[in-house]
Subunit: 240 residues, 4 copies
DNA sequence: CATGAATGAGCTTTCATTCAT
DNA sequence: CATGAATGAAAGCTCATTCAT
């Protein structure tokens, strides 16, 4: 079909060449397809770079449907942020932690976080986009959400079990602990490209990930272990 | 090594060494103004969102000059990435570390990194943008740069002095150590908006920063301290 | 065969055959106005010189609509080429030729070609533009078109009738004959400005056209006439 | 050299990377290089599409020099038109024609014209550009030139020798004859792309050219041959 | 419920050209 | 004689969005 047909080129569908199943698709399916496409596109190009057209094309729908279901581009982005948090919470809820083994449970926890970021690069990328926009959208979707994150609750339980068992220090907050774990996993994934250039090695290699996971686990466990003698609190306390 | 790496913006001679005339200095000033404006605008809006017009306006110049000096938007972004790395390296080089006091030196190092990110949000934001684009630009400016970063070199020296003094473990690499410190500082700054919503508290408050810096310092120092008894290596080794 | 080839601009139904509403007719009208304006503007300024803005203004529309209906400037040019060929074929199809009078029919044919070029300078100019661009666009619209042109088919019929009547040579191909006629008409029109300067006379004057038409007709008829003695085949054959 | 150097990217030369010989080149050599480059670029892209930058780059010089030597883009185009006519006249002047053999001389003449166009596509293309612009530039360069073209003078001599020898008709003007020959050669070359699509065969193939040259020669010679009985002058005079 | 048509503002980039030595 | 710096205008094109059924 050439440019000289009656139908405009920019139209995504027409009565002859419409992508299969668009009309037949239920409303919910269309909405879902758009949401999924938006996650991909926004993750790849950012909020500004992810155009409405790219998304509608990726969803095999048309621009107009985005406005129909999400109001506007920003509304769609809010839905995207909401959805990726939902997915993360869902995955986290599936974690099986043995509180009878606090160290093992913490290892599992660390492994989960580090790997979740790695396996869901769109989560990391989208959070970066959201932070670029100063959290403008997250406020809108988080309002209905309990402020304390489930993940911190989980960390809290693990930490407490360790304290109770006498293997973890009592003066560490779950919040701080979780943030440090998240930071380690997040940074390694989020900055993998600049770091790879910076370090001259490929952080995406599986071995690099395994090494990092082991290192982080080691450092965190040492950091919260009950220490026979406190070394680090003040400068020069144990030596000299 | 590129020209802007070796020659700071304030350079007073041109590439042939001839003393600069009025016109030429204004040329350099125009270029510098554009670069500085670009850093601000790209940091605030990302690469896609940071329009050429916004930049030229902020630089009190015109669009055309950006193409004259940097070829295109992407060339400007490359120059921006180059410049922010240069600034970081420069700041890092100014660090005065007493290798006679390894713990103190490491504290200083951590404080520097955490605070640099906090005080240079554009650095963090721009690195995020660059990673969104899969490091497309960093390769162009980093190619001539020695792979090992100065910061890791510094970390290496501090770490070694501690090992020599018998206070730091010998089985930790400077690379890993530096990455963990960077991760902690970076994540706290980069994700401050989503984390603030997530945690229901303002991570930008000075107290929040001080708390985080103290926590990270504590955890890192404990993590690399020589431990009388190894606790964390394998699950349930000392306590079961 | 493309839509605009089969369906003239005045088509009153859309591609699904549904009678058109007010809005849809206006859509078709917009598209037609753009196409007509594009023919004029591209003919006058060439492809590069014919700006999208000039066209949209001439069509009393806006730039954006050109992209809506034709994708981009090149797509519009493809549609233009398509349309002018369609018009030529249409005009040619309207020719009434008496095969009972081969010489007369050929005269008519020559007159038609020479005058069509003269009366449709945009056709000539646009073909020149298309050839400047190495036929990049014609391929896109011609692919579905039968390779032999209708005009050559017509020439073939006239030629054969003359051969059958014993007045035209049998060893001349319709293709070559048509090309020579076209060349004569085309060149006189296409190069009228440089030729006018070159010859010091105005080729656009009606008398100049009439003279040229007569000369070409005479030369062509002599060229294909059955000759009692072959004169021109080889150098010095009959007259030495 | 990266974008962050002091020198602008858009500059074509600088003190380090200047193309060899630019400064050392004599003024005349620079002018010639620009003129040659302009011929190529204008021939390929037309007047509008041939940008000053493309030309200066192709000439391994800088934009500014074009203004220095030719005033502006239009002045350069005038010089280009002037130059290609000069070259054609020069080539034509080199033709050796035996007036003792009028038919052979005319064959040579036809061969020269057809082949010159083929071997100098830039000539054809540039004349098309000039005609697109309604001969705006040719007037400026032709003013000093004698109006009658050398080629027509040559044709005149050949024609007269044939008339004197009794082999060519006396009622054909050199002007008309030359125009027909030129038309045939020009059209075949100029429109080779659209014709190739139109006819479904490649007019650029050497065989196609040879065939065309033979056909044109045959038709022209038949057309101007003294005919024992006039056939073509008026409709139906010899038949029926 | 769904969609074709339309749009104004903005985007990045290139244009031919002049300024000021 | 030659050239680096600068520039306003315009180029082609994409943007998110609304209109009108």
């Amino acid at each position: 079909m050439t440019a000289s047909t009656t139908r405009p080129l920019a139209a995504k569908t027409n009565s002859v060449g419409r992508p299969i199943g668009v009309r037949e698709r239920s409303a919910q399916a269309t909405r879902d397809a758009i949401l999924r496409a938006a996650i991909k596109v926004f993750a790849k190009h950012g909020f500004s770079g992810g155009s409405v057209e790219k998304i509608s094309k990726a969803a095999k729908s048309v621009d107009r449907m985005i406005y129909y279901y999400f109001g506007n581009k920003e509304g769609l982005f809010v839905a995207v942020i909401d959805e990726i948090y939902r997915r993360f919470d869902e995955a986290e809820a599936g974690l099986e932690l043995d509180t009878g083994d606090p160290v093992g449970a913490l290892r599992t926890m660390i492994r989960f976080v580090v790997r979740y970021y790695r396996e869901h690069p769109e989560f990391v990328s989208l959070l970066n986009s959201e932070n670029l926009h100063r959290g403008r959208h997250v406020g809108r979707s988080m309002r209905a959400r309990p402020h304390a994150s489930p993940a911190i609750g989980t960390t809290e339980r693990v930490l407490r079990s360790g304290i109770d068992a006498g293997v973890f220090r009592a003066d560490v907050s779950a919040r701080d602990l979780y943030l440090l774990i998240a930071a380690a996993g997040y940074f390694h994934q989020s900055n993998r490209f600049t770091l790879s250039a910076f370090l001259g090695e490929d952080l995406e290699a599986p071995a690099a990930l395994a090494h990092w996971e082991a290192f982080v686990t080691d450092m965190v466990l040492r950091g919260i272990a009950v220490a026979p003698r406190t070394l680090a609190r003040s400068k020069g306390n144990t030596h000299g």
